[in-house]
C-alpha cells in the first residue's frame, strides 16, 4: 500500500555513529545512494560511458572511481547495447551492476538485452538465474537539450513483463528508491528526471535505508480530486494543487513512483475517496502509463467516479527542438484547467 510522504528515518537504526546528514539535489542524492550501496555490498558495480574518471556527464557518479577503484566503476566503450548486455552477464554471476545510459534517447539500443534477456532471465530459467541489475538514465524534457536528450518514453519499459520501472521525483525518493532498486533481486529501470536534477535540495540522512518499491507516495492529502503524476511533473502537479487549494478545491497528490508494477490499491483508495482524478504525465498520451491508469480506473473505479478521468499529457509528437519545447511540456495552467473541468461535473 502507498505510504505518506515522510523521511525514512523511523527505522531502528543504531549502528554506532550517527549517519551523516546532507542537504542535496536529486542528482547528488543519486550519487550518495550509489556510494552507500557500493559501500554496503561489494557486489555493486557501476558502469557506463564517462562514469569513471569524468564522474558522469551529470556528475551522478562523481568520486566513485576514486573511492571504489576502476574494477567497480567501469568506463565502458561507447556502446549502449554492450553496456546493457554485459550487465545481464554480470548480474547472472551475482554482481549487482548499476549501468548508466547517458540519456534515455540512447537507451533504445539496449532494448534487446533489457526486454529479451534482463526481463526474462529468471522466468526463462525457472528461477535458476536471475538478473539483479539497474539501468539508470536521465529522462524528460525542459532542459533545452539537443534532440534525443529529452525523451519521456517510460511506457516502452513499463510495458514489459518482468521489468520494474522506478521514477523518483525528489532527492529523498531518489536516494531511497535507488537503494531499493539496487537491493532488488530483479532488473530495475531507474529513470531520473533531469529537469529536476538540481531544482530543489532536501536534507537526507545517509543511513542506507531504502524506500519501498511498487508503492505510491501520497505527497499531499486532499478530499475533492486526486492528481496522479510521477517524475518532474510532480512539481507542477504540487503547484497546481496549492493553487486549487486557494480556489477551495482540495486536491490529493499521488506520486506513482513505480510504474511497473503499479500500486493500484493506493490510487483506487484515493479516487474512491475523492471521486475525481486527473493524471499528469510528460509522455505522449497514446499507449502511455497514464492510459493504463485511466483504463484501470474505468475497470475498477467506475462506480465511484463522479467525472471522467482527466489527463494532461505531452503531445503525440516528437519532443520539439528546444525553441518550442515549452509548447510540448504540460504546465501548471493546464493541470488546473483540467482539474477545474473535472470538478465541474455534478
Amino acid at each position: 500500500m502507498g505510504i505518506k510522504e515522510t523521511l525514512p528515518n523511523n527505522g531502528n537504526h543504531s549502528t554506532g555513529s550517527e549517519p551523516a546528514t546532507h542537504v542535496v539535489t536529486l542528482v547528488e542524492a543519486v550519487n550518495l545512494a550509489l556510494a552507500r550501496a557500493m559501500e554496503q555490498d561489494e557486489n555493486v558495480v557501476v558502469l557506463g560511458e564517462d562514469v569513471g574518471t569524468n564522474g558522469g556527464v551529470f556528475r551522478a557518479t562523481a568520486g566513485l572511481k576514486e573511492r571504489f577503484g576502476c574494477k567497480r566503476v567501469m568506463d565502458t566503450p561507447l556502446a549502449e547495447a554492450l553496456i546493457a548486455g554485459i550487465s545481464v552477464g554480470m548480474a547472472a554471476q551475482g554482481l549487482k551492476p548499476v549501468a548508466e545510459i547517458q540519456f534515455m534517447g540512447f537507451a533504445y539500443a539496449t532494448f534487446e538485452h533489457i526486454i529479451s534477456h534482463a526481463a526474462r532471465l529468471r522466468n526463462r530459467t525457472r528461477g535458476r538465474l536471475h538478473c539483479p541489475m539497474v539501468l539508470r538514465t536521465p529522462y524528460g524534457g525542459g532542459i533545452h537539450a539537443p534532440e534525443h536528450h529529452c525523451e519521456s518514453t517510460e511506457a516502452l519499459f513499463a510495458h514489459i513483463p518482468g521489468l520494474r520501472v522506478v521514477v523518483p521525483s525528489s532527492p529523498t525518493r531518489a536516494y531511497g528508491l535507488l537503494l531499493a532498486a539496487i537491493e532488488d533481486p530483479d532488473p530495475v529501470i531507474f529513470l531520473e528526471p533531469s529537469r529536476i536534477y538540481r531544482m530543489v535540495k532536501q536534507e537526507i540522512r545517509d543511513d542506507g535505508i531504502a524506500l519501498p518499491l511498487d508503492t505510491c507516495f501520497t505527497l499531499k492529502a486532499g478530499t475533492d480530486i486526486t492528481l496522479i503524476s510521477w517524475g518532474a511533473c510532480v512539481h507542477e502537479t504540487l503547484q497546481a494543487a496549492r493553487e486549487l487549494d486557494k480556489q477551495g478545491i482540495s486536491a490529493e497528490v499521488i506520486d506513482v513512483a513505480t510504474l511497473n508494477p503499479i500500486d493500484y490499491a493506493t490510487i483506487l483508495a484515493s479516487v474512491e475517496k475523492t471521486g475525481r482524478c486527473v493524471i499528469i504525465q510528460e509522455a505522449v498520451s497514446h499507449c502511455s502509463v497514464g492510459s493504463e491508469i485511466a483504463a484501470m480506473l474505468a475497470e475498477k473505479g467506475l462506480f465511484f467516479l463522479k467525472a471522467p478521468v482527466g489527463r494532461v499529457n505531452g503531445l503525440d509528437i516528437p519532443m520539439p527542438y528546444f525553441q518550442r519545447e515549452n509548447l510540448y511540456m504540460p504546465d501548471v495552467h493546464e493541470i488546473i484547467a483540467t482539474a477545474i473541468k473535472t470538478m465541474e461535473y455534478a
Binding site: 556502446a79 547495447a81 554485459i86 554471476q93 534477456h117 526463462r124 535458476r128
Partner: protein, 365 residues
C-alpha cells in the same frame, strides 16, 4: 601446448579421409578421450535424428538440428572446466549434454517448457539457449567481466553461428574483450549458411577469424569437423583465458548438413551437389576411420555403440514424455522474486482457464 595459428589458415590434425595431417600432439595418446569424442558425437547424432522425428510426428516443437556439427559441441564440452561458464547458441546439444544437461531436458526445451532451461550440476551457471542471434556473446563478455572483477580463474565460452557475426552483438563484446582483456572464448560455428543466406553474403572479409585482429585479440580458423583440432584449439584458448592472457576468437569451419530448423527446407536455396560434397568432410566418419586405423575401433564396438546410443535416446524420449505438465503458477511466479498483486489476480484467472481447457467445461460456453 605448441600451437601456431593465423586467421587465414585452418588448424587441422585429421584430414577428412581420417588420416593424420602430421605428427600428432602428445595428448592424442589419451585413448579414453578420443573414444569419448566418438561416443558423444554418435550419441548426439542419434539424438538429433530422433528429435527431428519427434517434431515431424507432432510430439515436439520446432527443432534446430546439429547434424554435421557434432564435433564443435563435443570439443567444447570436453575442453571446458567445471568452473567455466558455457553460453550456447542453439546447435550445442553435444556441449550441453557433456556439461551434464540430460538429454530429456534438451527435449523439454524444444518441447516447449521453460523447465528445459533449469540446469543443475556443472551447467547450473551456464546460460540457456539464446534465440535473439548473437546477444549471448555480450552476456558472455559480462560473465567474463565478473570473473575478472573477482579475480577468479574462470572463463566464459560462448558460441554463435556465422550469421551472428554480422550483428553489433558480435562486434561490441569482441571489442570489449580486447579492451578489457577478458577471459572469454568465442567459437563461431561457421556452418556456411544463416538459414538461406550463404557465408559470402555475410561479410566481404575473407575469413571471420580475422575480425579478431581489429578487436586486438587472437583469432584463427579451425577445421570444425576435426574434433581433435577443435579440442586442441579450445583447450589452448581456455588455458590462455585462465592465465589472464585475454580472449580468443575461433572460427570453426563446418557445414550445416541439415535444414536450418524443422520449419525450413534447405533444398529451396542450395544444391544437392554442395551438400553431398560436404558429407565427405563430416566429423563422425572421419574420427571413426582414424580410430579404425589406430586399432581403437572395430565393427563389433560400433554395433554395441549404436545399440547403446539408441537405448539412451529412447530412455530420454520416455523421460521427456513422462514429465508432468508445469503448474499454472510457474507461468507467473518466476517473473519477479515476489509475485506482485496484479499477477496473482491473473494467475488465479488462468488456473480457471487451465481447468476449462483441460476439459472440465462446466460453464456451458
Amino acid at each position: 601446448m605448441q600451437f601456431t595459428t593465423t586467421p587465414y589458415t585452418e588448424h587441422q590434425l585429421i584430414e577428412p579421409g581420417g588420416n593424420a595431417t602430421g605428427t600428432l600432439p602428445g595428448w592424442m595418446q589419451d585413448q579414453d578421450l578420443l573414444l569419448k569424442f566418438y561416443r558423444t558425437m554418435n550419441l548426439i547424432r542419434v539424438f538429433d535424428k530422433r528429435a527431428i522425428a519427434l517434431q515431424r510426428t507432432g510430439q515436439m516443437g520446432t527443432y534446430a538440428s546439429c547434424l554435421g556439427q557434432e564435433a564443435i559441441g563435443t570439443a567444447i564440452g570436453c575442453a571446458l572446466k567445471t568452473e567455466d561458464v558455457f553460453v550456447p547458441y542453439y546447435r550445442d546439444q553435444a556441449a550441453q549434454f557433456l556439461r551434464g544437461v540430460p538429454l530429456y531436458q534438451l527435449l523439454q526445451y524444444w518441447g516447449g517448457t521453460e523447465w528445459g532451461n533449469h540446469f543443475t550440476g556443472t551447467a547450473r551457471e551456464d546460460f540457456p539457449n539464446c534465440v535473439p542471434i548473437a546477444t549471448q556473446i555480450t552476456h558472455a563478455a559480462g560473465i567474463a567481466t565478473a570473473f575478472k572483477i573477482r579475480g577468479q580463474k574462470r572463463a566464459a565460452l560462448v558460441t554463435c553461428g556465422d550469421g551472428a557475426t554480422s550483428r553489433g552483438d558480435f562486434y561490441e563484446p569482441l571489442n570489449l574483450a580486447g579492451v578489457w582483456q577478458l577471459p572469454m572464448v568465442l567459437v563461431v560455428n561457421n556452418n556456411q549458411w544463416a538459414i538461406s543466406v550463404p557465408r559470402a553474403l555475410q561479410t566481404g572479409a575473407p575469413t571471420i577469424a580475422q575480425k579478431a585482429m581489429a578487436a586486438g585479440i587472437e583469432g584463427f580458423q579451425v577445421d570444425g569437423n576435426d574434433v581433435c583440432a577443435l579440442y586442441e584449439a579450445i583447450r589452448y584458448s581456455l588455458d590462455k583465458a585462465h592465465a589472464g592472457k585475454g580472449a580468443t576468437l575461433i572460427e570453426a569451419m563446418s557445414y550445416r548438413l541439415c535444414d536450418h530448423t524443422t520449419a525450413d527446407d534447405a533444398t529451396r536455396y542450395r544444391s544437392h551437389e554442395e551438400v553431398n560434397a560436404a558429407w565427405l568432410k563430416e566429423p563422425v566418419k572421419r574420427l571413426q576411420t582414424f580410430l579404425h586405423q589406430r586399432g581403437l575401433w572395430d565393427e563389433q564396438k560400433e554395433q554395441q555403440l549404436i545399440t547403446d546410443c539408441q537405448q539412451k535416446v529412447e530412455q530420454a524420449v520416455k523421460d521427456f514424455q513422462s514429465q508432468p505438465q508445469q503448474p499454472v503458477d510457474d507461468l507467473f511466479d518466476y517473473l519477479f522474486d515476489t509475485t506482485p498483486p496484479h499477477l496473482i489476480v491473473q494467475r488465479e484467472r488462468t488456473k480457471q482457464k487451465a481447468a476449462r481447457l483441460a476439459g472440465g467445461n462446466h460453464h456451458g460456453h
